[in-house]
């Protein structure tokens, strides 16, 4: 990456000189989006849509400072219609546990941003879902902070290597949708530092140029105004050199509070900055130093990126073959096989004269929610189309399942049955209001506030029709964990497909029929009971985030999950052995051999967990602290070595307000999921 933090800092003097030449009005101009609300609404209400073209902010032509040109994400570039590559959502990409792949996705997105004329990609969403019901979970990578940090950093690197600024969002504690404009999140300092902020710091350390403050409040203060989060933690402690921008329209609520709180840029319309901010400075309510600092950050960052290369990208790169192939490759690597009784999957193409497919989602182009992350690709392959394409000699019969008896007859006449069930943009996603018509998303979205399970009609369908034909599988579509207890015994195999992108139907069919060996791993835990998870009041002004969530909570409470974090099956089998563990001053290193003991090629994700059972304080049983994806031919053995920085083993001591390393024996585990049964255990002493 050319535009590293150090490289950007080398532009400080140049940027300072420009700032010194600017009037107060010009400096403040840099700090606001130049889209008018009218323009925005015109786009949304015409045949265009939100962010159809990059949204500009600032820019001073006579000083050769380009405006910031904002392109949303993360599942691709939101601009244009019928052009962009629609990648699988971040949750699926999280399930690949493949950092190199996420970097490649970043490169592709970076190129498309540039071809659209943008210079910033705001699709590095790394919020940690306190509860998987969060409606925009699909935009993030999973429930584990370490993993979020790694995947988010990979996207930052990929995008910025194309000399496009990456914007990390939504800083911070943004894990509830319906209440996002009003909820104040409370948590203790350890939770804040150990659970909700580390992945943001990881992405800043990876060199992210920009960060977006969230809508919600933290301890009573709007995050877009929050001196603690923006000035103290981000800019001072973490030494962030880039600029902060607000979330759109409602992210800044007060001129003085926001400016003094460390907000550098009001997006995407100027409502509280602009003239009001100039006035506030003149009245002495906001020190001009604040304005100078924001202007310096904005100019320095934009100059660095815009001067980094002279390449130009034409539109042919948008949705090009190579990028669509990458979207397909990602889907193939992320879709996760969760259950496969009697090896029913893969279906045999030879035996499959007829496959009966149930569930309305089989026949739907379903690439995720209809909010700000909605990408508009040229086409979307539905699961049904994918199957007709992949199993070319199989009769593919689709029935929505509304008449159970008819469904049963179709199932008994078919060689295989498939259920495609789960969610779409009306079940989860960005939320504006309950009234579809008044929302620009034209869908309901929101959090899954009533249930984390399938719809009742889908559950009944699987329960009634599943047992008719044991050659059956369910494909789950959704942005985060879906409960399985009520119906998982009624179907032989379960495949989690998330929202798999424009080529998702192809990847699903290839995996079902064995052209592709699944290798994704769940980036979240599946409990037996929803009550095993932290409880959230989705429509509230006050929500506490406790220290424990996800797999760490279940494990701490001694509750066995239905499916462990990091779990995913393959059509081949793997064996791990010969583990070794040691430590030096900076790292813990764990290694093991992994062998493909089956007869087809496959990939396994080797995971490293660190245990804190000897701790003198309350700490999790263990936490993920490293992972490595490895591909193996039949019979092949490889040695996998994973290094994890000791920095990541520390806990945050509120009393001294600093990170502390416990000197003790740590359990170290290496293996194929977070379940102890899948892990080899060792010990290191620090």
């Amino acid at each position: 990456m050319k535009c590293t933090k150090n490289y950007r800092l080398s532009y400080t003097d140049k940027a300072k000189r420009i700032v010194d030449e600017l009037t107060l009005e010009q400096k403040v101009h840099l700090m606001g989006g130049t889209v008018t609300l009218k323009d925005m609404l015109r786009d949304i209400n015409s045949d265009k849509h939100y962010n159809y073209t990059p949204y500009p902010a600032g820019g001073i032509e006579e000083k050769n400072v380009d405006p910031m040109l904002f392109c949303d994400g993360p599942r691709g570039v939101v601009c244009g219609t019928g052009k962009s590559t629609c990648f699988p959502v971040s949750m699926l990409r999280g399930a690949t546990f493949d950092i190199g792949l996420e970097e490649r996705v970043g490169h592709a997105i970076g190129k498309e941003v540039r071809a659209f004329g943008g210079n910033l990609f705001a699709g590095v969403c790394i919020n940690l879902p306190y509860n998987p019901g969060w409606g925009r979970s699909q935009e993030t990578y999973g429930e584990e902070s370490y993993h979020l940090g790694q995947m988010g950093s990979a996207l930052v690197r990929g995008v910025q290597e194309e000399n496009v600024m990456a914007c990390v969002k939504h800083y911070a504690f943004n894990s509830m949708e319906i209440s996002r404009f009003k909820v104040s999140v409370e948590c203790d300092k350890r939770t804040e530092r150990e659970v909700y902020l580390p992945h943001f710091k990881d992405c800043i350390d990876a060199g992210a140029a920009s960060i977006m403050s969230s809508y919600n409040l933290y301890k009573g203060t709007h995050c877009g105004h929050d001196d603690y989060l923006l000035n103290q933690v981000l800019k001072k402690e973490w030494d962030f050199d880039g600029f902060v921008m607000s979330d759109f329209i409602w992210g800044v609520r007060d001129t003085v509070q926001a400016a003094n709180g460390g907000q550098d840029m009001e997006m995407c319309c100027t409502q509280y900055f602009g003239d009001k901010l100039v006035q506030a400075v003149k009245e002495g309510l906001v020190p001009e130093d604040k304005i100078n600092d924001a202007a310096l950050r904005i100019i320095r960052t934009i100059l660095t990126f815009t001067e980094a290369d002279n390449n130009s990208y034409d539109e042919s790169v948008i949705g090009c073959k190579e990028h669509v192939e990458l979207a397909l490759e990602t889907a193939r690597k992320g879709i996760t096989l969760v259950q496969n009784k009697n090896g029913v999957l893969p279906f045999s193409k030879e035996k499959a004269e007829r496959i009966a497919v149930f569930g309305k989602l089989a026949n739907k182009a379903n690439i995720g929610d209809h909010g700000s992350s909605r990408v508009f690709p040229e086409y979307v392959v539905t699961p049904l189309q994918g199957m007709a394409k992949v199993a070319e000699n199989t009769e593919v019969i689709f029935y929505d399942g509304s008449d159970m008896e008819h469904a049963k007859r179709l199932a008994s006449d078919a060689d295989y049955t498939l259920f495609v069930v789960g969610f779409d943009h009306d079940d989860e996603g960005e939320y504006i209001s309950d009234d579809k018509a008044s929302s620009y998303t034209d869908s309901v979205g929101g959090d899954r506030k009533d249930s984390l399970g399938l719809h009742q009609d889908e559950i009944e369908l699987i329960q009634a029709v599943g047992p008719i034909n044991r050659n059956s599988a369910a494909v789950l579509i959704g942005g985060n964990m879906i409960m399985m207890e009520e119906w998982k015994d009624s179907v032989s195999s379960i495949l989690m497909a998330y929202y798999p992108g424009m080529e998702g139907g192809t990847a699903i069919a290839e995996i079902l029929f064995g052209d592709v060996n699944p290798s994704g791993k769940l980036p979240y835990v599946v409990p037996h009971l929803e009550s095993d998870l932290p409880q959230v009041d989705w429509d509230t002004t006050q929500q506490n985030y406790n220290y424990y969530h996800g797999y760490a909570k279940l494990e701490k409470e001694g509750i066995k999950p239905s499916v462990p974090y990091g779990f995913g099956l393959s059509y081949t089998t793997f064996k791990t052995f010969d583990s070794e563990f040691f430590s030096d001053e900076k790292y813990i290193t764990a290694s093991c051999k992994v062998k493909n003991t089956g007869d087809i090629a496959g990939a396994e994700v080797i995971q490293l967990y660190v245990g804190f059972n000897n701790s003198s304080i309350d700490r999790p049983k263990k936490l993920l602290r490293g992972f490595q994806r490895v591909e193996l031919k039949p019979g092949e053995t490889k040695e996998v070595t994973i290094k994890s920085p000791i920095e990541k083993f520390k806990w945050f001591d509120e009393e001294i307000n600093d990170w502390v390393l416990e000197h003790m024996d740590y359990e170290v585990y290496i293996g194929t999921s977070s379940s102890n049964e899948d892990l080899l255990e060792g010990k290191v002493t620090l």
Binding site: N363, L384, A388, K389, N393, V396, F398, Y399, E405, R409
Partner: protein, 308 residues
Amino acid sequence: MISYIYEVIEHDKNFPAKVFVTSIGESNYHWHYDYEIMLVLKGSVCINIWPESYIVTEGNIILVNSKVVHGLQCTSDKNVCLFIQLKQELFERWQEKNQKYRFYLNSVSEITKPKKPYSRFIRTAARIGLEIDGKSIVNLYQMQALLYTMIADLFKYVHYDIRQYVNKFGAEEESDILLKIIEFVEQNFYKENIAEELCRFIGMGEKTLYRFLKSQTNLTLKDLVTSIKIEKVQYLLSTTDKPIGVVAQESGFYNEKTFYRIYKKEIGMTPTEYKQKGTRVKENKEIQGYLDFNRAEALRLLKKYADE
């Protein structure tokens, strides 16, 4: 399946359907792209929708899906039937031409019942029948309104499933290609390397041909060849006194043992039994064996069902 014929349906110039009342004598197995609704107004007919057969008595309604092979025969009970043949384009999703709908509307079998009583569909069908002879602008719009009502009702109240295909051909082209294939097979059925020659003739790979035929007719090339051979056998058996061995040879069955096995499977009896029964079939490819019927009576019956 004995034989099949592709029927070309000429729709009315003013609306995307063909509607007529007739009395059925016998129609060979045939198929068409249209969705066909039959309402029996009087008497009964036997409909064969391979592999099932139903006796459809008066007051019953049945829908034959696009491209499904079917045949009709009169029973001893003289019949009058209303036919509504709806263009398949009416059922195509404009976004996804590779999907074919299959509706389950059959008041005789009642296997998958619609969500509304059959009387609703019967009433609409009869009212469509009543508009046939009118020539006024009112009739024309009334006819269109009723046809679209019927289609909306099918989607809303009748269970249907969808066949998903991958297809590189446009809908226009499909029927032309299929007719070419059928013609070629009829002329070359006796050749051993027919598959190879056919592929060359229409410029398709063997796999593509298989998929195409299967999606269009639900038959393999082998099925198609067999049915044409059997048709030829039937014709020779009932119109000549040639020995069975010769009939088999002339029909492209070069192995007598195979011939007997296939014949029994397809026809349900041996060739000898068939010959003894003395059934005569016409090689003539006339599909509709329509008989005369009383128009006034038909009108009265349509009114009756329209008002019910």
